[in-house]
């Protein structure tokens, strides 16, 4: 440490001066946005902003701030932790049932609460750092398992937290001067600053920015990654302890909706998803910005339908603001547009000049090279995709033994295809997005809005299909286009852009439907999804065609190859002549289109559309892609593998639905099987 500090000014005095505001920009902007929001609330409401209001606000946002701080640590290492919110619920119900009003019991359960979180983190870390599994799918499985365990601990809200403890944690540290939550967060920040100067603290962003370089520099990558998850888990545990004090009771569902908010707080705080840069100071203020949005919506009296729209816009604007200051993608795009139009009017664009063709011709390679045998050519695809199919067969066998009527029963497969067709279609869109290294979080309300539009336009008329279907597909593609442009032209991270889009679409769906979607699918659409022709649901052959088309699109076309190229490295792809931006936009349009198709089919399946009909498809759409062997960071995976993932998860759900196991047990089993499938997927070559 000392050696570094001593050498830094000598080697690069100017860069040191330039770099510290650069490093602090993230947190500074978060603080700035927070102050603006606070000022706005005060100015608009005309109210006071005294100690009481600050204290209430501090207590209200502390849980999110602490939990998002934990998430920040994981994100810094390039990871992703979906189990965070589930830990909060589990700690909450554990404490609510057990903590007594004695100092000993309180201390014990605070330590145990943090310990539960740290143990979960260790579990995650074991699989992620130890077995090198993908964080997103390990933590997804952990999330399901924890949700099940939480319901086993407490099946409905109840329990009590000693009020003395609640008062101590949410009340005053210094009466009239310093609320306890503020002190707690200040301590957290102090610890973080101290931690940043240790080897572990420096290793976290190093892991996220370049793992190989970190390893080459002599860091014990696995150990640090493991402890990153443990530390993060401890913080979720602390958040669980805090929410217990704040609410004074237990609720098995209390944490779950905080998951997406956590990521929003991380991003608002200036931490880059994918790792390498950021810190928890910005995150803490980001979390409070999200809480203040509630107050802003209230003082502005924003109509209920528009609140998710306003939230989405605030997220986008805040992230844009933090990138405007530097050489941002937005500014670069603007400059390019200006330069390009200038060149066009001056007639200097390459295609406007009459240039001679200057393509380099390479000497032909010897055409007599022997083609390797089929299974050798496809060895990688097989290795990645096969485990999902093997697990699927295993589930089939178990289903046959437990429920019967399975392996030799056509109706079983028919149901499987009909139930799985939504995910099979989403897997193409989400899969293509993931192959480029992105993520599409706008699926739920793209599906919802498209389904509602479809049912509304059809109103039961088959003739209306002729214009309703193209119109809905166009809307889906348009949503994807906007997503793509936001990512490519504004330089927003895919998660931010699609998360904000999801909120905006929710508002659009509410406004269009007026809160109650009317209209219903036409007879032909219902026939497609629910009729039986010689025992076969009419959609089934179409699903087979779709799967074949999707496999060809991703595996055999120029577009598909470009998708993989971008996922393996945007910069190299660009230098090799791949039109990166155009391809990315197309990928998001494909995802929007797939979601629109699912919206249409779902309204046919249910007969009518409902708000929130897409909510159950977001996490499964990611899960099937990853279980099918794709790499969440992009570049690896095949559609047929993803299809295996769809079959596996659908068959597993069908098996669980056929039993009378309690929901909690099913959630645990589901998580265990997903985890088992990815353990089987593990790359053994390293």
């Amino acid at each position: 440490m000392n050696a570094l500090a001593a050498t830094a000014p000598r080697t690069a005095p100017s860069s040191r001066v330039r770099s510290w505001p650069d490093r602090l920009r993230g947190p500074l902007i978060a603080v700035g946005v927070f102050l603006i929001c606070l000022g706005l609330v005060r100015w608009l409401s005309g109210g006071t902003l005294g100690y009481y209001e600050i204290g209430t606000l501090a207590a209200g946002g502390a849980t999110l701030a602490i939990a998002a701080s934990g998430q920040t640590i994981v994100v810094l290492t390039g990871g992703f932790d979906l189990s965070a919110a589930a830990v909060i619920s589990l700690v909450n119900v554990s404490l609510a049932g057990q903590m007594q009003d004695s100092p000993g019991s309180i201390a014990l359960w605070v330590v145990l609460g943090i310990g539960i979180g740290a143990a979960t983190g260790a579990f995650n870390g074991l699989f992620i750092a130890g077995l090198r599994l993908q964080p997103i799918v390990v933590t997804l499985a952990t999330m399901f398992i924890l949700q099940g365990v939480t319901l086993l601990v407490m099946d409905k809200p109840g329990g009590e937290i000693p009020s003395g403890f609640a008062q101590a944690l949410t009340g005053d540290a210094v009466p009239g001067l310093l609320p306890m939550p503020v002190l707690l967060l200040a301590l957290l920040i102090a610890l973080w600053v101290a931690l940043k100067n240790t080897l572990f603290g420096k290793a976290l962003p190093a892991l996220g920015s370049d793992r190989e370089a970190a390893r080459a520099a002599g860091l014990s990558v696995r150990l640090h990654e493991f402890f990153a998850y443990v530390l993060a888990g401890g913080l979720y545990g602390l958040a669980g302890v805090f929410i217990s004090a704040q609410t004074g009771s237990g609720d098995p569902l209390v944490g779950n909706p905080m998951l997406l908010q956590m990521f929003a707080a991380v991003v608002l705080g200036g931490t880059v998803l994918g790792g390498g840069r950021g810190g928890i100071v910005g995150t803490i203020f980001g979390a409070y910005v999200l809480m203040l949005v509630v107050n802003i919506l209230l003082v502005l009296n924003v109509p209920a339908f528009y609140s998710s729209v306003v939230e989405g816009l605030i997220l986008v604007l805040a992230v844009l603001a933090s990138s405007l200051a530097r050489d941002s993608v937005l500014l670069r795009t603007l400059r390019q547009v200006v330069a390009r139009s200038a060149a066009r009017s001056a007639g200097r664009l390459p295609r406007q000049l009459d240039l001679p063709p200057a393509r380099v011709a390479l000497p032909m390679t010897d055409p007599t090279v022997e083609r390797p045998v089929w299974w050798r050519r496809h060895a990688e695809a097989l290795r990645n995709g096969l485990p999902a199919y093997l697990c699927f067969v295993a589930v089939l066998v178990v289903t046959q033994f437990v429920l019967g009527n399975t392996i030799l029963s056509w109706p079983y497969y028919d149901s499987l295809v009909v139930l799985g067709c939504f995910l099979a279609i989403l897997a193409l869109g989400q899969g293509a997005v993931i192959l480029t290294g992105g993520l599409d979080l706008s699926l739920p309300w793209t599906i919802g809005l498209c389904g509602i539009l479809c049912a509304g336009l059809l109103s039961g008329s088959d003739a209306a299909l002729a214009y309703a279907v193209p119109a809905v597909l166009a809307v889906g593609a348009l949503i994807g286009l906007v997503n793509g442009l936001g990512i490519v032209a504004l330089g927003l991270s895919p998660i931010v852009m699609t998360l904000a889009m999801n909120g905006i679409l929710q508002g659009a769906a509410l406004v269009y439907s007026g809160g109650t979607p009317s209209g219903f699918a036409s007879p032909a659409l219902r026939w497609l999804m629910t009729a039986k022709v010689f025992g076969v649901t009419p959609i089934v052959p179409f699903v087979a065609l779709f799967a074949a088309g999707a496999a060809i699109l991703l595996g055999r076309t120029v577009f598909g190859r470009r998708v993989y190229a971008i996922g393996n490295g945007e910069r190299p792809a660009e230098l090799s002549g791949v039109p990166v931006k155009a391809t990315l936009v197309k990928v998001y349009m494909l995802s929007g289109l797939c979601a629109a198709v699912v919206g249409i089919l779902l309204s046919g399946f249910s007969g009518q559309a409902s708000l929130g009909m897409g909510d159950d498809y977001l996490l499964p759409s990611i899960a099937v892609v990853v279980v099918g062997g794709a790499l969440i960071t992009g570049g690896r995976g095949s559609y047929l593998g993803m299809l295996g993932g769809v079959l596996l998860l659908t068959a597993l759900q069908t098996l669980l639905a056929g039993t009378t196991l309690p929901y909690a047990t099913r959630a645990i089993l589901y998580g265990v099987v997903v985890l088992g499938a990815v353990v089987a997927l593990r790359e053994r070559s390293h």
Binding site: G60, D155, T247, S249, V254, M291, V294, L298, F520
Partner: protein
């Protein structure tokens, strides 16, 4: 007519006889906030519409200044929202509580600042809060008993529950299972989580039917989804008079299916038509929010209001089903309880909107937020 309304209103509030002169008319309007949960389903939308209609009705319009906010499914946000409402000078807060327990300290804090907090549908366990809801255990018990009786105490049933981890779901399911447990020949052969959504009910039933045939099922106990279950039976080629008995929700689609076969209804289509489906239809009625608003105003006017208002469980069976022509409050009071598909185009829409105590609101209130007068 008008006199009747007034009498009903007065009776409804069941107020103690502190019959002081109502000073509310001369006062400024009461600032009342509504903190909704998610607005992602029909029930929530209807409840909000009925509250808005109540606030706009003649009896309330000059007393109430209502502001509506949405908290989503997130209890943390609702806590923040309640705090913000208190700071914004709320006199009363109507809440659809996301959690019966998590809001307690925020609610307690609001009470200490002199704000009346009334929860509808769900429950808030903090003692200073007022609650307006049905008895969830009664709902589970009554429907299960009906199903047992319909099956003569013998048969295989499928249970589709609500959102796991909520009090409402746990209480209903537990009460129903206690009834089934008393009849050893009743067997729950499948149980699935239905999330109180027709769409999820269909997905779950499809999964169950992947390995089980309809003729292996004798009856269904569902929190939401009987309309869908009947539709799926028709699709599977089961005759209308062979439909399985289904104990479930109060969706209008299901109510219309309960009407005797051949009843003339305008706008019937697909399976959204009369088919004499054997049903008991119950609901957590969406008018509870509007009634909560009425109680809040009464409280602000200094009248005594009970801490806990247990709403009568609205139960409709094939014996009591009756089609409404227009759906005015007066018509519903006379006993009709299902609406024409031409007016209510969405079969998942909840039809249990009648309360003796809310003459201000009828069908138009639930549909578009328009009061009766």
């Amino acid at each position: 007519m008008k006199k009747k309304h007034l009498i009903a209103a007065a009776a409804a509030l069941a107020l103690s006889a502190t019959a002081g002169v109502a000073t509310a008319q001369t006062q400024a309007k009461h600032k009342i906030f509504l903190s909704m949960s998610f607005i992602g389903n029909d029930w929530q939308g209807e409840a909000a519409n009925m509250i808005k209609a109540m606030a706009a009705s003649k009896t309330m319009a000059d007393k109430v200044d209502l502001q509506v906010q949405v908290a989503g499914p997130n209890a943390q946000r609702q806590i923040q929202q309640i705090n913000a409402m208190v700071q914004a000078g709320a006199k009363a807060i109507i809440v659809f509580p996301i959690s019966p327990t998590a809001l307690n300290s925020a609610v307690k804090n609001a009470c200490e600042k002199g704000v009346t907090v009334i929860a509808y549908d769900g429950e808030i366990t903090e003692p200073c809060a007022y609650n307006v809801a049905i008895d969830q255990e009664e709902a589970g018990r009554v429907t299960a008993e009906w199903l047992v009786k319909k099956l003569n105490g013998k048969g295989n049933i499928v249970a589709i529950t609500g959102v796991p981890g909520t009090s409402v779901d746990t209480l209903r399911t537990k009460a129903a299972k206690e009834v089934f447990a008393k009849h050893p020949d009743i067997k729950i052969v499948n149980e699935a989580v239905g999330m109180w959504s027709q769409a999820v009910a269909r997905t779950e039933l499809s999964k169950i039917l992947a390995t089980r045939k309809w003729d292996q099922i004798d009856g269904l106990w569902m929190q939401v989804g009987c309309y869908t279950a009947n539709t799926m039976q028709i699709e599977a080629g089961i005759a209308e008079d062979k439909l399985k008995p289904c104990a479930g929700e109060g969706a209008n689609g299901g109510r219309v299916q309960m009407l005797p076969t051949g009843t003339e209804v305008e706008g019937a289509n697909g399976t959204y038509k009369p088919m004499a489906a054997p049903r008991i239809s119950y609901a957590s009625p969406p008018y509870s929010g509007a009634l909560a608003l009425k109680l809040a105003v009464a409280k602000l006017e200094g009248k005594e209001v009970a801490k806990k208002t247990v709403l009568p469980l609205p139960v409709v069976t094939n014996e009591t089903i009756k089609l409404c022509q227009e759906g005015s409050w007066a018509e519903m009071k006379a006993g009709c309880n299902a609406f024409k598909p031409s007016i209510v185009t969405n079969p998942g829409w909840f039809a249990s909107i009648f309360s003796n105590e809310t003459p201000e609101i009828g069908l138009n209130a639930a549909l578009v937020g328009q009061p009766e007068n």
